[in-house]
């Protein structure tokens, strides 16, 4: 018969350390610790049992339907991709388009990053690899006009999906968040309920600033979900827990590599198990 340990402060501190290291934040880790202290005080349990309790509630919190993106029945489903610099937007678009193409869908890409060096060239290489159309603007062009052009092309060629790339930006750059809001509105003028999805691309190595990112980008562009990238690394991405709690923004996909098939549908069970590995 296995020997458990008394749930005392030392035991709870060990649990706190495990939780904080996932990047969920000291606040949420503390809330969990305090609640377990109350529910389990003076009892003798295994750390495994305690973690099991925490795992269960996190799995429920982060749950997501099997099909993260439902394609609309009429016209192209428009997906706007946003996020801070270097988070993995362009590469995630490469992966999403490959995923749709593998399912026999027609995809049109919009090279909406008209600012960064070789951004259009980068997306063009991916479009060529996937075999899908790409709409570009002149260098320094208004990204909203590229988005407009991409949606127009998608409608005209009866594409199933239109994915629009945007330049990386920080949520503190007011003018750039304004620009994002404008792109969102321009798309909405072309197709009433578009963009149908606005994906916030979050780097799994990001710490608490991801919460500020979720807030800023949601305010500017009405995000509908998260693509959590670079989960093939050692970072856990636990910051999606407070993001789900505060903004009800779900993780839809996870990036697990640099190739155009390194994208998985988010499974809360597997994700939570990995948090505690």
């Amino acid at each position: 018969k296995k020997e458990g340990r008394l749930i005392d402060d030392e035991f709870l501190s060990e649990l706190f350390a495990i939780l904080v290291k996932t990047d969920m934040g000291a606040g949420p880790a503390n809330t969990i610790r305090n609640r377990l202290r109350k529910d389990f005080r003076g009892r003798v349990v295994e750390m495994e049992e305690l973690l099991g309790v925490v795992r269960e509630e996190l799995k429920i919190l982060l749950e997501q339907p099997e099909t993260p993106i439902e394609l609309v029945s009429e016209g192209p489903t428009v997906i706007l991709v946003v996020g801070v610099n270097g988070s993995g937007k362009t590469t995630s678009i490469a992966k999403l388009s490959q995923m749709f193409i593998d399912r026999g869908k027609k995809v049109v890409l919009g090279a909406g990053d008209t600012f960064r060096a070789a951004a259009v060239e980068q997306l063009t290489i991916w479009a060529d690899r996937a075999g899908c159309d790409i709409v570009k603007g002149k260098e320094g062009a208004d990204p909203a006009s590229v988005a407009y052009g991409a949606v127009a092309k998608a409608i005209e060629t009866e594409a199933d999906v239109c994915i629009i790339d945007t330049a990386g930006r920080l949520q503190t750059q007011t003018n750039l968040m304004e620009e994002l809001n404008k792109i969102h509105r321009v798309i909405g003028k072309q197709i009433e309920v578009a963009p149908h999805e606005v994906l916030l691309v979050l780097d799994a190595t990001a710490g608490q600033n991801a919460i500020s990112q979720a807030k800023g980008f949601s305010d500017a562009a009405e995000c509908t979900g998260i693509v959590l990238t670079k989960l093939d690394g050692s970072a856990k991405g636990g910051v999606v827990v407070p993001i789900r709690q505060q903004f009800n923004l779900p993780v839809k996909y996870i990036g697990v590599g640099e190739g155009n098939r390194d994208l998985l549908v988010f499974q809360s069970n597997e994700f939570v198990d990995a948090l505690f590995e």
């Binding site: 290291k21 960064r116 060096a117 060239e121 190595t205 710490g207 050692s234």
Partner: protein
């Protein structure tokens, strides 16, 4: 802010005689929470708090008229000690220098290569940028665009698969063209990717750069200790550059990187434009981390 938090935690004690150890511990709890909220790695916070606690439980805070300010002073001193000296120059050895930039995917290496190039150019040196990222789509093109913007030569090879060869060829060419500093841009990689870390070690071993710098994203969370530790173990870093500090990230990863590598922080990246590079000033970062 932490300052206000401590002031209000200790305020209720004024007039009730001196502070007790348990009062101080409540203040220390606030300090710990602040550091974790600022993204300092857990193990680094623990080590840091050991030092702070020892000082905090001494005469200086316990018997002070202004305990919250004294505690703040202790925390501030410990942090400046850990962050190390600021820089006001970038030391290169006399003659020809090779700098190599490395780090995780998307941390800002390619852009920072450009910024360093501009910095050296402004110092009247002749830099050359080397496109040694042979894997990311349009990485070579990206560096060429940057070089063109600055009027700095960029060395690249169209169809090479070996970054070691590209770097060696670049250095040979640089010496012919009287270049002063060669800056090697490498591909982003995971610290846990054994094959790519081995590749980086190969470049380091065969090319022997004078300075190897780790480029760290300013919004990095708990993982900073893992990645910085692994890169330092593989390459013995000479410096760290932290990027994207123009946002509202607290930058606590800087403390983690300092603690785990002991390597000096050379520069901070504060924007996407090629002039957005600043010397590291510890006072500024300490204030930012402590909120």
């Amino acid at each position: 802010s932490l300052q206000d938090g401590l002031a209000s935690a200790f305020k209720s004690l004024r007039g009730k005689g001196k502070l007790t150890e348990s009062n101080i511990r409540e203040g220390l709890g606030l300090v710990e929470q602040t550091l974790l909220d600022a993204d300092v790695s857990f193990s680094v916070v623990q080590e840091f708090m050991k030092k702070v606690t020892e000082k905090a439980l001494g005469q200086r805070v316990l018997l002070a008229l202004n305990p919250s300010e004294q505690l703040m002073g202790v925390v501030h001193e410990e942090m400046l000690e850990l962050l190390g000296k600021g820089e006001d120059s970038f030391d290169l050895k006399k003659g020809f220098n090779v700098l190599m930039l490395c780090g995780l995917q998307g941390s800002g290496k390619t852009t920072t290569c450009g910024k360093l190039g501009k910095y050296l150019q402004d110092k009247k040196l002749k830099p050359m940028l080397v496109a040694a990222d042979l894997q990311r789509p349009a990485a070579i093109e990206q560096l060429h665009v940057i070089g063109k913007q600055l009027g700095i030569p960029v060395y690249s090879e169209g169809d090479h698969k070996d970054p070691v060869k590209v770097c060696q060829n670049a250095i040979a060419k640089a010496k012919q063209e009287e270049i002063d500093v060669v800056i090697l841009d490498t591909a982003g990689r995971l610290a846990i990717d054994e094959e790519l870390m081995q590749q980086l070690k190969e470049v380091d071993r065969k090319v022997m750069p004078d300075q190897v710098m780790l480029v760290v994203d300013g919004m990095t969370g708990q993982d900073a200790v893992n990645s910085a530790g692994a890169f330092n173990k593989a390459l013995e870093l000479n410096g760290v550059i932290m990027t994207k500090l123009d946002g509202d990230s607290r930058g606590g990863a800087l403390l983690s990187v300092r603690h785990v590598t002991g390597v000096p922080i050379k520069f901070l990246g504060t924007g996407e434009h090629l002039n957005s590079l600043e010397y590291f000033r510890p006072e500024g970062m300490a204030g930012r981390i402590l909120g």
